[in-house]
Symmetry: C2
Subunit: 333 residues, 2 copies
DNA sequence: TTGTACGCGTTATCAC
DNA sequence: GTGATAACGCGTACAA
């Protein structure tokens, strides 16, 4: 492995000159520049990024902190981040936290000690600990899938969860559903989850439909809770003709519950999902769902982040487009 | 951020002494050790890993190179690697390659320049370029899901794909199926894929059943190819009573094809999957499949790797257990 | 425009 | 046992 010194020697110049052509940090005579370039090429020289990091106090690493890589929603986000980062010469340090605050902080410390250039952060709720870390360490960060007002002043990329849920509900109402249930995410801390219930409720109100709390089930985004919620809601004397789930995984669980209760979907029950992850397509009936451009959220998160890292671009809040994709799980009554 | 010098000053010792208590590299008097420890605590000092890496030429980074993080099979593996690595103080550099050799090599170069301690590698086929990289750079590596004889002498963690496919086929045969189709992975380069077809064929032979090439479809592990393969096989004049798919995703695609052709599963057609990823459970009917302990493969890969990194443990080939998990997609005839 | 020399935070080799 | 000091590979004032 050749170093900058080898290049300097071969080109007959000093290391500083080599450094200058490497970084375009100062003007260099074109003939010497050529000599250096040739030497670099000849030696197959590549600057040592560790040494660089040590002096610059900034690496080419981007931390991606998420609750669970083994969840299609998060892995799609990571893929988006990775693609964009790779394009710009950054690598991904994967921080899998299980949604645990302690682990999040632990990883944040690791990122700091490795001089990570920035981090894309997806958490159920932005906590004071997070905010103060980013403030103190001055590490650029963008929060993914987080409502603008909860990011502590940092950048974010998301969709408008309130409006998306509002429109999803409207979609159901337009199809003559007046009895609509809702399986939500955790309402205590999942901020975008709260937005979705609120969008749902608002749509009900605006259409003169009463909200029925017995048809609201607070799940946790997992298959199991969709199943349980479905059982809870559908076994009541009076049951809704449609249920809106705050994500696809729960919707799929709900499908199982409906099947178990012999309620055919969509004939007897319409089911509307959220996210449009891979499972929406493979389940039977295929899920009508609100598509959230997860991979794009990852891409734009990375893009925004790198903008802040390199260009000193201003903090910003991006809202991406969602859309209702109609498949087989909803029908008019 | 305090450095080793600050600690040395505060403790009234030299930096070398601090370094020694940090690394237990040489004996230190217990009273001075205590002073150092106190100083460390007082300053909240944490050794700078970048500087460490620069002098040791070895970081605490483990590269995980896979084709696609947004695929439940690979993401499960990554989760396993991450868990084990985190436990041992290593972090994960995620290398998403799209299965492209050029990108694999590109990432390998990045890993080298970052002084990665080792890499967990999952690729369709181990190529000469891979092997020579690991030989020359002396970077420890373990290949995941790769047949022992194709790892170029490096460690590996996998299951016995041949036997697993053999047993899967036997499972079908025991249930009186004599006409069995097979949807395979790519046969040109996916080595474990080849093993699975061979296990399938061998089971046929050992049971006196003819192999019918028209019932073999070469897919690519994706949903779409399972669907297409299903159509191809099931629209023939004579069709099998059971089809074995080399992974779950294709099995799910096959399910769609069967539904489209009005062949109810498992009544008219038994379908056997492979892997037991999340989708096996959410599809209807639920998939009977051969469970491969993907997450554990990740864990053991990391464990083996770290053993080689730290202990100079010998190269080894681990074969983990698989099992047939019976759900609703297969029946006796 | 170019070169010298020092610093980034550690570890390791040497003397003491 | 302990303490200087030279690496590790690079960027950058500063001097020329």
């Amino acid at each position: 492995m050749s170093t900058i010194k080898d290049v300097a020697r071969l080109a007959g110049v000093s290391v500083s000159t080599v450094s200058r052509v490497l970084n375009n940090s100062k003007p260099v005579n074109s003939d010497v520049r050529d000599r250096v370039l040739i030497a670099i090429d000849e030696l197959g020289y590549r600057p040592n990024s560790v040494a660089r990091t040590l002096v610059n106090k900034k690496s080419q690493l981007i931390g991606v902190v998420i609750p669970d890589i083994d969840n299609p929603f998060f892995s799609a986000l990571v893929r988006g981040v990775e693609e964009e980062a790779k394009k710009k010469g950054y690598s991904i340090l994967l921080c899998n936290t299980g949604g645990d605050l302690e682990q999040e902080i632990q990883y944040l410390d690791i990122l700091k000690e490795k001089y990570a250039a920035g981090v894309v952060f997806l958490t159920a709720r932005v906590q004071d600990e997070h905010v103060s870390f980013f403030r103190e360490s001055k590490t650029p960060v963008v929060f993914a899938c987080q409502p603008e007002n909860l990011t502590g002043g940092f950048s974010s990329v998301a969709i408008d969860d309130f409006r998306a849920a509002y429109e999803g509900t409207s979609y159901l109402i337009k199809r003559e559903h007046k009895n609509i249930g809702f399986v939500s995410g955790p309402l205590s801390d999942s901020s975008s989850g709260v937005l979705r219930v609120e969008g749902f409720k608002q749509a009900l109100i605006d259409n003169g439909i009463d909200f029925r709390s017995e048809w609201l089930y607070e799940g946790n985004y997992r298959y199991r809770s969709g199943y349980t919620g479905g059982l809870k809601i559908l076994q009541q004397l009076e049951r809704p003709t449609a249920i809106f789930c705050a994500n696809d995984e729960m919707a799929v669980g709900l499908l199982s519950a409906a099947r178990e209760l012999d309620l055919s979907v969509p004939e007897k029950l319409s089911v509307l999902g959220f996210d449009d992850t891979v499972m929406a397509e493979i389940v039977n009936p295929k899920l009508t769902t609100i598509r959230q451009p997860i991979c794009a959220i990852g891409k734009y998160s990375a893009h925004t982040l790198i903008g802040e890292i390199e260009g000193g671009v201003e903090k910003q809040h991006l809202l991406l487009e969602y859309e209702i994709v109609e498949r087989g799980s909803c029908k008019s009554i």
